[in-house]
Symmetry: C2
Subunit: 130 residues, 2 copies
Amino acid sequence: MTKQRHPEYTCSMEAALSVISGKWKVKILNQLMDGPRRYSEIRRSIDGMTEKMLSQQLRELEEDKILTRKVYPEVPPRVEYAFTELGKELASIFYALEKWGAHFLTVNSDTIKVADASCYTFREPVAEAV
Amino acid sequence: MTKQRHPEYTCSMEAALSVISGKWKVKILNQLMDGPRRYSEIRRSIDGMTEKMLSQQLRELEEDKILTRKVYPEVPPRVEYAFTELGKELASIFYALEKWGAHFLTVNSDTIKVADASCYTFREPVAEAV
DNA sequence: CCGTATCCCATGCGATACTG
DNA sequence: CAGTATCGCATGGGATACGG
């Protein structure tokens, strides 16, 4: 009787939030913006995250079909993580969220401190033919 | 030495997520989409939320300048909550998030169950003259 | 009507050590 | 290199009771 990570949602919004909530997921996804990344690349790029959290979050994101995990049968082993199409579609939302966050910090600059206003690289997706 | 709710963020994205994360905030904000709402209206409209959580979350949202709290000096007392401009700007993000969530649920329909695909009312903001 | 105070538990996450 | 296992604590949130 293992615990279900997605019990049952009352609506799609709740489901969406469950995917991006948590301390590390957005940071991890940010690292994949410019293409596939190896486990060790992601780990080195995110300060303060333990290996336990990285692999746990990666497994959950894979389970949710946000990213893919590809193992290369080499020595030493190589594993690469990359966005699925579903994952790529989060980019524009993250871009908008970060812009809103900057505005939020401006409005609350008297009470909230921030080290670096924009440390993410989410961008508007390039226009594609439909 | 009271605990700081916003310790210090490394970036604006982190700050943005801190505002909308938590079990109830998006649900509460959703209730304000069509204009100001009274405390009791919000409470009745959200199933399963205790009064403690409602007032706690409302205070935090007020502190973060997402909404305003207006007390009417009447008997019986009346208190109304409404979006600030900053709060209103979240609407388009929530709209996009909910749409993405619907897609997410479709892709994962084999493993994730949902009661009601769209229970929120976030909309694209109406165009305004700049 | 509109809240607060207290208590308590589940979960998320960190620290550390170990493995194919 | 790319992970897993175990332990333990801090925090978020539920239940319940009380206050202006």
